[in-house]
């Protein structure tokens, strides 16, 4: 066991774990950030996708100790404070989820795509999402939601260098949609 300082969703958090412990289990079991899902443990299904320095990685095979000093962003940190990321809103508007289990990984892969290509083509979406399994078969709605989000994406969401928002609260009147 050793102590590691991780930057997760804009916060510096210290964890005391085995050097080989994958980020997935540090997030889920040590930090209680259960939005990142366990699907296969061998980087085949994409359920555990998170961003490291803006790039999508598979948390189930990446030791947390290797990520010290790099900004990590998880699904819990995708919203800008109180405001949903356009992909999250699009996922709700299109009613993408069936069981919903793979969707945080899907959204994180899509977010990395939009950060790189704000107006992706279908081919761009194919390439970016090919390694994220959905057992329920929500793929067509995922594609639709990515296109919808890309049409409505405020520019502040596309700073790929940032690991997370600053979690300030933008007070808005409830009911605004």
């Amino acid at each position: 066991m050793a102590r590691y300082q991780l930057n997760i969703n804009g916060r510096d958090l210290e964890v005391d774990v085995e050097a080989q412990m994958p980020l997935l289990w540090v997030l889920r079991d040590e930090l209680g950030l259960i939005g990142t899902k366990f699907g296969c443990g061998i980087a085949q299904c994409g359920a555990c996708t998170v961003h490291v320095a803006g790039k999508p990685i598979r948390a189930c095979v990446t030791p947390a100790s290797a990520l010290v000093g790099q900004p990590i962003r998880t699904i819990e940190g995708l919203a800008d404070g109180t405001e949903l990321h356009p992909l999250q809103q699009a996922w709700i508007d299109v009613d993408v989820a069936q069981c919903g289990y793979c969707q945080s990984g899907q959204i994180m892969s899509a977010a990395a795509l939009l950060a790189e290509k704000p107006s992706p083509t279908d081919e761009d979406i194919d390439a970016a999402m090919v390694d994220n399994y959905c057992r329920c078969g929500t793929y067509n709605r995922i594609r639709k939601a990515i296109h919808l989000a890309s049409e409505n994406t405020p520019s502040q969401f596309f700073d790929a260098s940032q690991g997370g928002g600053d979690f300030h609260v933008k007070q808005r009147s409830e009911g605004q949609s």
């Binding site: 699907g39 061998i42 069936q98 069981c99 919903g100 057992r135 929500t138 009911g175």
Partner: protein
């Protein structure tokens, strides 16, 4: 009911409030740097209605200064003073409506659909509605289960009754408050209004008085006319969608309770093997491991199989340690099943009738020997497949030993299709009465029939009891794939003849299926009423069963998911032999509109069948000419009280690379509750059907499953998903379920389309075994 009672009851709901609280506690425990942030539930619905409006944003979170109870009280603020109208509905004086969803949610959308029915009959505004998962209490909520596409047909009237009785209580309260006759009052938009003046009172204003109204006699309730529906039939986004896209706790695997430890369980790779000994002491020394012990099991694969349990401080620790286990297994009574041997045996038997006669009409033999008839036969094969839920099997148990004369008790957090099935095993294995067992039903990350058995529940109860602490058991993907209750594989030998006019006049099926240790397996059997047995004068169905020890169970549309492939492909073979159009032959088989079983709306209606077949064909522009290497394929199947027809459009190149361009689906399940959810089920069934047909196959040798994870058991990927066009015939029959019946027609539609494109017949799944790629 006073405020305290209400809050304590809500506290028991493992819903967002509890989940966020647990998350806050977890963060507070692990770090003092983390700021809590809390999703506010209030008025959430206002944001979540499907808007279709671009660029909308959402106020999501509010940072509160306190932890724990302060946060919870704030969150429940608007519910204080709520009044229970009946088991399913609570309304606060501020007009907030809580509707409990009592059935397991596994992605089929029931947690949204059932409350829509209640809200519709109530006259509620959907934006005022908050849906919470109910506790498990069949005396209050009725049966808690999901499966067989039965929840909607079983509960439609129950939900309407709940909503309509609440509506009548509001109208009764308004009649008193406004001193107006009941029949001049009308409930809509969470308000009771006077028909002849501008007088109105909101549900919130009426709540206190409404709860004092007598409960209406269900016999006197009048349900809304469907022409007046404002919620049923619309598209409503799933009630858990905000939590899902935000990564908040919903699923069984997300449960965290104080002092919880993490568990893993290793069973014998050959089903039925038992632990003789293992290197327990060595593994116990590994980092993060607190306990390693053998569970004897009770020799019931649905309950507790023998194995080695590991408990530790993280899932990773127990998964890692599990790989270091060296176990001596007694395999003397373990499975020796071999897929290769099953295939050989079936091929030997295929040209002869089966051992058992299932049904017979007319005389197939004389049809075959008629020199004017043409007779063909074919052998079809389909493999075992796994459920492969994205969320592996898991369960959390807290077994609390009694002391000073108090009894033991057990708290369970289970993602399951059948929560109450935990009671009998808690009794038989652990001696606990129902009153000693508290069950929380968690959202399921997929199920497809998998989570109807209780073995993962039994395993974790035993582990929690042994270590004296709450334990969350998580199966690795390898455990999940190699210890499933598989969709049973099998074989069918089919034969049929056509007369000189090209009409199908005889059909025969020799069904080769499986039994498990002599017992029936879900989906392995041929039904005497199977299409086209009742459509033809000369039919015969026989059956031969192979006894196996590989556990099998229901898998989305049991039986139908394989029999549709055989029969709907073979009908096409007969049509091709006759040189006739498949659509014409299929409609001819249906004949005049009639029920197969008069008065039974769960039986095939040839008129409903012909309507969906014709609609799918029309929408797919059936009969159009296509470029070389392209083809259209049609199939119909009746299952789960649903009539579904599908047309697939495919292209196949010289290297057998397949592209499914589009699938057109026509469905009659009566009225649709949630249009978004219903289309999702059909889209999902098509993609699931294609995924399974294309490349999924579980094989076993020496009783051991030969696949282990996603690298050798693949799921269809996003770029290969076809477009799916869906059309509903919303007939006036009572609504039936849609989780399953859109899957069975997919495989034969694809197979028939491949034939149209290439002239090559598909008689075996998966397609990758036949050299196809996608």
């Amino acid at each position: 009911m006073n405020d305290h009672d209400f809050m304590s009851e809500s506290d028991r709901d493992i819903d967002l409030v509890r989940a966020v609280e647990l998350e806050l506690n977890a963060l507070a425990e692990t770090t003092d740097q983390a700021e809590p942030f809390l999703i506010k539930k209030l008025h959430r619905r206002a944001f979540l209605k499907l808007s279709g409006v671009a660029g909308s944003s959402l106020v999501l979170a509010s940072v509160l200064s306190g932890y724990g109870t302060a946060a919870k009280a704030e969150d429940l603020g608007s519910l204080v003073g709520s009044i229970e109208l009946n088991a399913f509905i609570k309304v606060s004086s501020e007009g907030k409506i809580v509707i409990y969803s009592s059935n397991p949610e596994m992605g089929q959308g029931i947690k949204t659909a059932l409350p829509m029915i209640i809200a519709e009959e109530m006259g509620a505004n959907w934006e005022d509605v908050e849906v919470l998962q109910s506790d498990v209490d069949e005396s209050r909520f009725g049966r808690h289960s999901a499966g067989g596409s039965t929840t909607i047909p079983r509960t439609f009237d129950q939900m309407r009754t709940m909503g309509a009785s609440a509506r009548e209580m509001f109208i009764g309260a308004a009649s008193i408050s406004m001193e107006l006759p009941r029949d001049e009052l009308h409930a809509q938009n969470s308000t009771v209004s006077h028909l002849f003046s501008s007088k109105s009172l909101t549900f919130g204003e009426l709540a206190a008085l409404a709860v004092k109204q007598p409960l209406p006699d269900p016999k006197n309730l009048i349900f809304k006319d469907k022409a007046d529906y404002t919620i049923i039939g619309t598209s409503v986004t799933g009630v858990d969608n905000l939590e899902i896209v935000s990564g908040l706790a919903l699923f069984g695997i997300d449960v965290r309770v104080p002092e919880m430890r993490y568990g893993a369980y290793q069973k014998c790779p050959a089903f039925g093997g038992k632990v003789i000994s293992a290197n327990l002491e060595e593994v116990k020394k590994l980092p993060g491991i607190t306990d390693v012990f053998i569970l004897e099991g009770n020799d019931n694969v649905r309950e507790l199989s023998s194995g080695v349990a590991l408990v530790g401080t993280s899932t990773w620790a127990v998964f890692n340690a599990k790989k270091q286990l060296r176990i001596n297994w007694d395999e003397s009574s373990a499975s020796k099943d071999s897929w290769t041997q099953m295939v050989s045996r079936a091929k030997r038997l295929h040209s002869q009738p089966g051992e058992t006669l299932i049904a017979e009409t007319g005389d197939v033999q004389s049809s075959y020997s008629n020199p004017d008839h043409q007779t063909i036969e074919a052998f079809y094969e389909y493999p075992f497949v796994a459920h492969l839920c994205m969320e592996p099997m898991n369960c959390t148990a807290h077994y609390k030993a009694g002391h000073d004369g108090t009894p033991d008790n057990l708290e369970l957090w289970i993602p399951t299709q059948a929560p109450t099935r935990a009671y009998p095993v808690a009794k038989s294995l652990f001696g606990l009465d129902q009153a000693q067992v508290k069950i929380h039903q968690m959202r399921l990350g997929g199920s497809f029939g998998r989570r109807v058995y209780s073995e993962y529940i039994c395993e974790v109860i035993a582990m929690s009891k042994q270590v004296g602490a709450p334990v969350k058991l998580t199966w690795s993907r390898e455990d999940d794939l190699q210890h499933d209750f598989y969709r049973v594989g099998g074989f069918q030998s089919v034969k049929g003849s056509i007369d000189q006019t090209g009409k199908i006049v005889a059909f025969e099926d020799h069904f080769m299926g499986m039994t498990y240790k002599g017992g029936r397996i879900s989906g392995s059997g041929f039904r005497a009423t199977e299409f086209p047995m009742l459509n033809l004068k000369n039919t015969r169905a026989t059956q031969t069963m192979f006894d196996i020890q590989t556990p099998c169970g229901p898998w989305r549309a049991p039986g139908a998911n394989t029999t549709a492939f055989v029969i709907q492909s073979f009908i096409h073979e007969l049509a091709v032999k006759a040189g006739r159009d498949h659509l014409e032959v299929l409609l001819e088989l249906m004949g005049e509109p009639r029920w197969f079983d008069q008065g039974n709306v769960r039986s095939l209606n040839t008129g409903r069948a012909a309507d969906v077949i014709s609609l799918a064909a029309k929408k797919a522009n059936w009969g159009r000419s296509l470029p070389k290497g392209h083809g259209l394929g049609l199939a119909f199947h009746f299952s789960h009280a649903a009539h579904v027809a599908e047309v697939a459009e495919v292209s196949v190149d010289a290297s057998k690379k397949l592209k499914v361009n589009r699938v057109t689906v026509a469905v009659d399940v009566g009225p649709i509750i949630n249009m978004s959810g219903a289309t999702a089920q059909v889209e999902g069934a098509v993609i699931d059907g294609l995924s399974t047909m294309l490349g999924q196959k579980i094989t076993m040798e020496q009783g051991r499953i030969q696949q282990s994870n996603f690298h050798d058991y693949q799921v269809l990927r996003l770029p290969n998903a076809p477009e799916v066009d869906i059309y509903f015939i919303q007939s006036d029959y009572s609504p039936t379920g849609l989780g399953e019946p859109a899957l069975p027609p997919l495989a034969p539609a694809i197979g028939n389309a491949i034939y149209a494109a290439t002239g090559e017949r598909v008689r075996k799944m998966p397609l990758t075994d036949e050299g196809y790629t996608i």
